[in-house]
């Protein structure tokens, strides 16, 4: 790990001012410190966000939807009963994420921005394409955990469990930097690394996520989340599926279907969503959506199993919205 300085500002404006080049925001540190230990991140200055007023906790004002502060520890989302009633998918998606210890330290903002888990990426000695090298080692190497969909030069997968769940509810994020504020759809934060874009998200330098928002209308959806992993706890998703829809008199509206662990970005499948619109999530519709969700999949040498796994998981998750 390189030597670095550390500050813990009290206000957002101080924080933003401190985030000049060479500085890195520190939330729970569960991803960033690992990257630093492996020599993959070398910030000169760590700006600890946990002392900033107003970035932690969540609220739901009448008619205004849900606001979750970016510094809220994951465990708080998981445990709050009121939140669970408002948006059960949060607990569902977090229960199998990492471990209780990591969820206690880890925050929402950090989870949204965690780096991918490709073992070539995490290996300091391997200068792969994403790290500025010339080739992706996973494409022709050990790729049982890699992408089957939507990949360009890099076949790493989006690792978060929370993100697909939030995207299924059309979550937005509020961003702040010393130059101003903006909001965007959470889904738009992510890019599949390609061309000159050798990164997984479009956050600008010096920019912070302050809040995650879910609209009142989205909260009316019913949601479901499933995650397949190789052991029962403490492992990343082989495949995860988040689905949500407003179900009125047995008919689905505003269907959302988002997969994790299969593509470099959270993989939203609009074609499958459209096919389900107006359906009752009957067996046939769910099975067809599952097929659509995997359309264009291109498994690598060792990850062909992800295809049937994802298909089945999509089918089950969709069905679970009505049975």
């Amino acid at each position: 790990m390189n030597a670095f300085s550390y500050v813990r500002p009290r206000t957002l404006s101080d924080g933003l001012r401190l985030l000049r080049s060479g500085a890195s925001a520190l939330a729970g540190g569960t991803d960033l410190l690992g990257l630093m230990k492996d020599g993959l991140a070398r910030p000169e200055l760590l700006v600890d966000l946990t002392g900033i007023e107003g970035l932690r906790g969540w609220s739901r004002a009448k008619g205004k939807g849900l606001r979750i502060g970016a510094l809220t520890p994951l465990v708080e989302l998981e445990e709050a009963e009121e939140l669970h009633r408002a948006m059960p998918i949060l607990r569902e998606s977090l229960r199998d994420a990492a471990t209780l210890q990591l969820r206690t330290m880890g925050t929402v903002g950090g989870n949204l921005l965690q780096r991918n888990r490709c073992w070539y990426f995490r290996d300091q000695a391997t200068a792969c394409w994403l790290k500025g090298g010339t080739k992706c080692f996973a494409v022709e190497g050990e790729n049982r955990l890699h992408a089957i969909l939507g990949a360009h030069e890099c076949v790493a997968v989006a690792p978060s469990d929370l993100v697909p769940a939030l995207i299924a509810y059309d979550a937005e994020i509020a961003l702040a930097s010393s130059r101003g504020r903006r909001t965007m759809k959470l889904a738009d934060l992510y890019v599949a690394p390609h061309g000159r874009e050798r990164r997984e998200h479009v956050l600008r330098p010096g920019e912070l996520i302050t809040e995650v928002r879910v609209s009142e209308s989205a909260l009316a959806r019913k949601g479901a989340f499933q995650k397949a992993m190789e052991r029962k706890a403490w492992s990343f998703a082989l495949v995860s599926v988040a689905a949500a829809a407003r179900i009125e008199r047995g008919v689905a509206r505003d269907v959302r279907l988002v997969l994790g662990g299969v593509a470099p970005i959270p993989w939203r499948v609009v074609a499958a969503e459209r096919g389900l619109e107006g359906s009752g999530f009957d067996e046939a519709a769910c099975a067809e959506a599952a097929d659509r969700a995997l359309q264009g999949a291109a498994p690598l040498r060792d990850n062909g199993y992800k295809l049937p796994l994802a298909r089945e998981l999509v089918r089950r998750t969709l069905r679970s919205l009505v049975v």
């Binding site: 229960r95 199998d96 397949a228 190789e230 029962k232 706890a233 062909g304 199993y305 796994l309």
Partner: protein, 767 residues
Amino acid sequence: MTLAPPRPGARVKVRGVIGEPAPREDAVPKVKGEFQYASDLWREGMLHGATLRSPYPFARIRKVDVSAAAKLPGVRAVLTQDDVPGKKTYGLMDRDDQPVLADGYVRFVGEPVAVVAADTIEQARAATKAIVLEYEVLEPTFDPIAAIQPSAAKLHPKGNVLERVRILHGDPAAKADVVVEGEYEFAMQDQAALGPEAGLAIPREDGGVTLHVATQWLHEDLDQLAPCLGLPESKVRIVLSGVGGAFGAREDTSIQIHACLLALKTRRAVRMTYGREESFFGHVHRHPARLFYAHGATKKGELVFVRATIVLDGGAYASSSSAVVANAGSFAAGPYRVPNAVVDCVGARTNNPPTGAMRGFGAVQSCFAYEAQMDKLAKACGLDAVEIRMRNGLVEGDAIITSQPLVGSAPIAEIVRRCASLPLPETAAHRDQSELPGGHANVTRGEGVVRGVGYAVGFKNVCYSNGFDDFATARVRLFADAEGPLARVHTAAAEVGQGINTVQLQIARTELGIERVELETADTNVGSAGSSSASRQTWMTGHAVLQACREVRQELVRRAEREGLTLDRTDLADLLDRPIEKTVTYRHQDTEKRRPDGQSRGHVAFMFAAHRAVVDVDVETGLVKVVQVATAQDVGKAINPLGVIGQIEGGIAQGVGLAVMEELIVEKGRIRNASFTDYLIPTILDMPPVIADVIEHPHPDGPYGAKGVGEAPTISSTAAVVAAIRAATNRDLERVPVRPDDIVFGTSSRSGWRIAPGDDPRRAVRG
């Protein structure tokens, strides 16, 4: 030898004797985080050591320049091969093929090239990066079968065949009505000890050094260390520090020689502790294997022959490969009556990470294959898995394929029957979501779940074999202080978690009839105890303690007689105005060296276990949950029943892990998943309930009839779990660990070599 313990001075009942469930003394401190592991060792002013490792699987070192590194702040020493004052190579069992620091070549990714001592660990690591190295990259060999072909490039002056064992038993050309064949693959498992390699070396006034270290065999470390340091053994003392798991990985030295070299060079205490990633590169692993089998039987399912060719990948250096190869060969046919056998077993040198000892030591690899074969045979003969094993199981007096007869064991048929009659778990319908395949809370609600049941039986030797001079020494000192008689037991037996400390205390209490018994710290100031491996410490050190205590007791009897007293009615303290001290070295009965045809009475004793696994497989997604493992194991005598259960459950955890998730992914010689985020071991939620039937069929030569316990649970539990998955999926599953891919697609991997089972793999044909 008579086995009934004497009861001197036993007027009050002594607690904590053999046969009683005795909790470990370190259990509570470990759970509370108060136990001192080797990585917690600390000394005022100590330096920190770091290792520079090879990035290449095979290369010649053209140039090493440490001058820049040596000038960095805080750096006290930078050592390369030139700075090794004594012997430049080391190795277990006199193999001596591994350089202390790279000798002009590097042969695996992670091979130590230089070591540094500095004031802080950061400075030491920075200095390793400042060492200038020029490599000439050479063509590596990773395929073990390719490595042993006559045409293969030599990877080491000692050649690429680390060991070959050929076993010929009965008629090599025997014919049978029913023949089944299979090729099996066994991936690389890691011991995954939670405590990384660590130790503290402290230079002594007399030019010697004291090393505190987490190890399995203090004296073997000493044997390897002293010559490399250029010191007589008397100037090196090794003290056992807190061991956070071993499972074979600490049989080879890791930091030992390096830390001592640095301490002697700097005249300062030096601590070395590997980080998690480095630990994966810095210790040996379990041998991966390719196994080619043919089994022949009568129509009734009675075995006629077994033919097998086994190739184990030993990696770049010998380590304990030769003994692992011998074991894989010896036990290649399983605990069955096999009149005719041909087994050819070779350990190959490659540019993969070195492999060596791990719980089960060669027996695990062959068990996976022969038990799969037994199930195939059962199917072909229309028998069930239990019946075929009962029909062929060894009974006392039967010989294994090396012609060694079975002594002092329950019949295999009885072990299998008792295992099979243990209660089965409830059906899936009754169970909690968290017990189904997938995540803790997710994935299946029972759809697509098929249950499977599988059986396996395994066996292995206890203690060292094939003529090895295997001994253990114990010193027992009995004296009286203000509180009465107190015994101190001193051995070099390494407590690595298996419970030998508790066993020693129990034996001493039993033999001396007093409750106040303490253990001295294990170190090299007493004779060797041999390794905490081969399930041998209870047998060996247990015996030594037992005999030393009996000699102490004889002296008590003499003293009592001299005073005209009867021991039973005397306060022991009255006889202890002078302490009594006895040192005994126990040797087990001689074993024979292996003959060229592999036949010999090479082993001291065997241990056996049967496992039944119940699994739920989500056949559509390829996810598995092991629901229950039942086992019957003949332990001879449960000296500490609590310890026995602990060993059985822990061994099964490792076996289950290997069956469904544990695999070191080695790509072009480099370990890809050197972390506990990527190398998965079972969590408590993955660990099924274990029901154990502990059979106590005494062995005539074991202490109180005890055999070894620790390895048997690992040997056949893996095979049982895979058999259960096969039953649920109808897939062949010829590879462990079983991956989702294998279940969903039934993929089976092929080595790409054609080898007729029993043939010499050094003459293999591609195709």
